[in-house]
């Protein structure tokens, strides 16, 4: 049995979740604020442990968990997002008597994502996947008196269970054909799938199951509704965190287990990537809800990352992995900024139906200067303006398509990237160029703090990309 210390980040996290839950029982509504700090500290501790474990490798529990550069990198993504969200949530959950539920659900969801990142067995993968899903179903409906939040939760749940069923169905076929659920084991016993139509079927079923999390068109339809309807911070977790879980699962399932069926899934992903980025970007153009716009943008970004499955080179994977990290920070940041705006709107007008409408962003540059500046950086990063994380990862990812000679794919991606600039710039326009009669607002500290952390990382990845790129490359080496 190898080094159990590798598991400490997960254990710390789950422990934090339990502690938060327990302590919460003994606190009244006013003192529950400390749970937020506690949870943040726990996530931070876990994050530090993961960073310390970078570079270590190992297999645990009969090879059902593997710890390698890929898993650690993605854990980093999940924990960073969780950290941002938990910090920002300190404000969001203020005065709520269910703070402990919120935090422990969030932490368990994050733990689920981390287990997915380490999964080396389809069973682990599926169960952990479900953990992340089930915890977030409740989170999405956290505002249980808000019909919109409930609707978001319901849609998320319905499509989520359908996808789970599809994935389980797919896993059952893979298991049937290979006789094992171990991911490397599947790769070794792939013969039957390779020679039969079942191969394609199971590939597509797995794509459908994972594509739900990734929000690939046409499995994306829940995403805009849920991202729009859920509390912004939960959207942040979904878009920035659980989407990446879909990617890491997909990396494992396709690039390790089903690598022999490369022809099938490359083709499928090529089609999906093109449709996804195009539809996401095009539909985002006409959105007036910023969260919904970010949701579609997130769909589009998923399309970009999916290109890595088409290109299938080390650079492409490194680019995709780096993109996952960057997107985590950018999207989380953007949603947190939106959350700040929503908070502002709701504190002015209690019963606002569309607090995230783009009209509420008018004059934000004056009303909430820090939020607006951070939002601008996130949006430009999402658009791929240089010296941001978004540019750096787009640079590597798009470059890899050219490297592989897939000029058509690069052209489509580039054109999409150009379109996307339109809707990002539109928000910037609202924030800075359109007047508003609102007053200047004291910006809520936790939101601002979380955004600033995200900004620092967005810029750091853009400026000082080497270490991030190095780890992304290391992670990519695990797959190829």
């Amino acid at each position: 049995m190898a080094d159990l210390t590798l598991l400490t980040p997960e254990l710390t996290l789950v422990g934090t979740g339990l502690v938060v839950l327990l302590i919460g029982l003994f606190l009244n509504t006013n003192t529950k604020k400390m749970l937020g700090y506690l949870a943040s500290l726990g996530v931070l501790a876990s994050l530090v442990l993961v960073i310390m474990s970078l570079g270590r490798e190992g297999m645990l529990f009969y090879d059902t968990l593997s710890f390698d550069a890929l898993s650690q990198f993605f854990k980093l993504v999940f924990l960073s997002v969780a950290l941002l969200v938990s910090i920002a949530s300190i404000k969001y959950t203020e005065g709520n008597s269910h703070t402990e539920e919120f935090y422990s659900l969030m932490i368990f969801a994050t733990a689920g994502m981390m287990f997915v990142a380490s999964a080396n067995d389809l069973m682990v993968l599926f169960v952990a996947f479900e953990l992340a899903s089930l915890a977030t179903y409740a989170l999405a409906g956290f505002e249980k008196k808000n019909p919109i939040s409930l609707e978001a939760s319901m849609k998320y749940f319905m499509i989520g269970s359908l996808s789970a069923a599809l994935m389980l169905f797919g896993i059952s076929f893979i298991y049937g054909a290979t006789g094992t659920t171990s991911i490397p084991g599947v790769a070794e016993n792939i013969d039957i799938l390779l020679g039969s139509p079942m191969g394609l079927l199971s590939v597509i079923l797995m794509i459908a199951g994972l594509g739900f999390k990734i929000a690939l068109v046409p499995f994306h339809m829940w995403a805009p509704d849920t991202y729009q309807g859920s509390p912004s911070l939960v959207s942040s977790l979904l878009a920035a965190g659980s989407k990446k879980m879909g990617f890491v699962a997909a990396f494992k399932v396709f690039m390790i287990a089903l690598i022999a069926l490369q022809a099938e899934w490359t083709t499928a992903f090529a089609v999906l990537a093109v449709i996804t980025m195009t539809l996401g970007n095009v539909v985002a153009l006409s959105q007036t809800s910023v969260k919904r716009m970010l949701a579609y943008s997130s769909v589009a970004q998923a399309g970009y990352i999916t290109m890595a499955f088409v290109v299938m080179s080390k650079t492409a994977l490194a680019g995709a992995i780096l993109y996952a990290l960057s997107h985590g920070f950018m999207k989380a940041g953007a949603f947190i900024a939106t959350a700040a705006v929503v908070y502002m709107v709701l504190s002015e007008k209690k019963d606002s139906e569309t607090p995230d409408d783009i009209d509420n962003f008018r004059g934000l540059g004056r009303r909430m200067p820090v939020t607006a500046l951070c939002m601008t950086i996130f949006l430009f990063a999402l658009a791929g303006i240089p010296l941001t994380a978004g540019y750096m990862s787009k640079f590597v990812l798009f470059a890899s398509t050219i490297e592989a000679g897939l000029v058509w794919l690069a052209v489509i991606a580039i054109l999409n990237s150009a379109i996307s600039l339109f809707y990002y710039a539109r928000v910037v326009k609202y924030m800075y160029f359109l007047p508003s009669d609102g007053e200047k607002i004291a910006e809520p500290m936790p939101y601002t703090f979380a955004m600033l952390i995200a900004v620092i990382f967005v810029l750091a990845i853009g400026f000082w990309s080497e270490p991030f790129l190095y780890w992304a490359m290391e992670a990519a080496k695990v797959l190829i």
């Binding site: 303006i385 470059a399 000029v407 580039i414 054109l415 150009a418 710039a425 790129l469």
Partner: protein
């Protein structure tokens, strides 16, 4: 060189941009901005006087590893192609800040910060020797200008700024594809990644596939042509130039990165492009058509600023045409045209701004007789107009003469087209002059005041530079010639 002077020149504007952003009053903002720009001017003058214009080598080089795993380095250097353009920026920006000294702009701290940021980014493009860095600065130029147009622009600013932003972004992205192609092709050949511009350009000829070479060339060319802009990719320009505030228009004018790309990137790889002759013909044709087309369009405009914007299209045609001339002096002429155009158009846009502020209109027909009330402006504007229409003794003529004469040697047909445009060019300038400055004074404007001392000073200095470099172009032309001879000698190596 112990002092990293190029880094300073690039970073000082950015640093001061941040600093300026946090100033509270207009006074602080403008002083901070002026200080920064004067510092940059001093540094670039220092660099200029230590510059060896007899060599085409990169000078003041700086090197630091940045992202080694992708071969991306922080690599700066300057040579005869970039020096004049850096100088142009360094010279005009302080006077631009002086020009806006007494303007009542809202949010002056942001305004000056954006000016400085643009300066830093543009200079960065000129001195970057790494494609990654080059592209970073290239894109960074967009952002401050986008804000500039959107916040302080004219009535249609939102449409114009978004259009400009996205249009040129598309061009840049296509260029980026070309860079990727070049990068990976070179990576494949040498086995190590390297984003160095010179390295990649020298590897271009070894790319085995002719189609790849053509595609890379076309992608890069497209990016640059959009930015120059050459016909038919010019339609972002009039709106952006017109809607921008005066300072923004001037910054646009100083944005000579498209033409710079032609010399830095396109010409060295041109001889190794399989369909070289076609490419040359395309460049020459687009250049010549831009000249003629821009001139006709300028003639048709009713808005003074729009006319100047189209005249800019026309003038930038000389850059493309001269680059396609492939004679060292035609290429130098094209480079000189960039320099000259920057100076001339700065004054032109400043004059447009002054007129607009004073009278509240830019419609040419509504103006008239301004020379009586604004004699100083009239004199400076006359000089700028004359320089713009290519009057000898001013910079515009030197550039146009070199381009036309030496391009004729290789591309006679296109030069004939361009020559026809000269008359039209004269026509719209003179006609506009007649209708704005001359004729009966439109009394509804009341008692106009002439331009202020700071405006006069800044415009006059640039005007004097136009005259000086028109009479004595050697200080900047010599280094251009040195470099263009090297560029052209590449053609000879390739057996062209």
């Amino acid at each position: 060189m112990a002092i990293p002077i190029l880094s300073l020149i690039v970073l000082i504007p950015f640093l001061f941009a941040v600093l300026t952003l946090f100033t509270k009053t207009k006074e602080q903002a403008r002083v901070s901005a002026l200080f920064s720009s004067v510092l940059v001017l001093a540094l670039s003058m220092f660099m200029y006087f230590n510059f060896d214009s007899t060599t085409s080598q990169m000078q003041f080089q700086e090197f630091a590893q940045w992202v080694p795993s992708l071969g991306i380095n922080y690599q700066l250097g300057i040579d005869g192609i970039s020096m004049p353009l850096v100088l142009l920026n360094a010279i005009v920006i302080p006077f631009l800040i002086l020009f806006t000294w007494n303007d009542d702009k809202k949010q002056p701290n942001r305004f000056y910060a954006l000016i400085l940021a643009t300066q830093g980014a543009v200079i960065g493009v000129f001195v970057a020797l790494d494609f990654f860095l080059f592209y970073v600065f290239w894109e960074l130029t967009l952002v401050p200008l986008f804000f500039m147009v959107s916040i302080w622009g004219g009535p249609a600013k939102h449409k114009a700024s978004i259009k400009f932003f996205i249009y040129t972004h598309v061009g840049s992205l296509v260029m980026l594809l070309g860079i990727f192609g070049l990068y990976f092709a070179a990576w494949g050949q040498t086995g190590t990644p390297n984003m160095g511009i010179e390295h990649l350009l020298s590897q271009f000829q070894f790319i085995a596939s002719g189609l790849s070479r053509d595609l890379i060339f076309v992608a890069l060319l497209f990016g640059f042509l959009v930015k120059i802009p050459a016909f038919p990719f010019h339609s972002w320009l009039p709106d952006a130039y017109v809607e921008a505030p005066t300072a923004g228009s001037v910054l646009f004018v100083l944005l000579k990165i498209g033409g710079y790309g032609l010399f830095r990137v396109m010409l060295p790889i041109l001889p190794f492009t399989p369909s070289m002759n076609l490419m040359i013909a395309i460049m020459a044709a687009l250049g010549a058509v831009s000249i003629l087309y821009g001139a006709f369009l300028a003639l048709a405009q009713k808005d003074l600023k729009r006319m100047v914007a189209y005249s800019s299209v026309s003038h930038m045609g000389y850059v493309t045409l001269g680059a396609a001339g492939l004679v060292s002096l035609s290429v130098s002429g094209a480079m000189f045209q960039q320099f000259s155009h920057g100076l001339i158009m700065s004054i032109m846009f400043m004059a447009c701004g002054v007129i607009n502020n004073a009278t509240g209109t830019r419609i040419i027909n509504e103006l008239g007789g301004l020379a009586r009330k604004m004699p100083k402006l009239a004199v400076i504007m006359m000089l700028a107009f004359m320089a713009s229409l290519g009057l000898p003794g001013l910079t515009g003529f030197i550039a146009e003469f070199l381009v036309l004469t030496f391009t004729y040697i290789n591309q006679p047909t296109y030069v004939v087209i361009a020559i026809l445009a000269i008359i039209i060019t004269a026509a719209y300038h003179l006609w506009a002059m007649q209708r704005t400055m001359f004729g009966v004074y439109n009394e509804k404007f009341g008692a106009l005041k002439d331009i202020s001392a700071s405006q006069t000073f800044s415009m006059a200095v640039i005007a004097i530079l136009i005259l000086y470099f028109g009479l004595n172009p050697s200080p900047v032309l010599d280094m251009m010639i040195t470099n263009s001879e090297k560029l052209v000698s590449l053609m000879a190596v390739a057996g062209v």
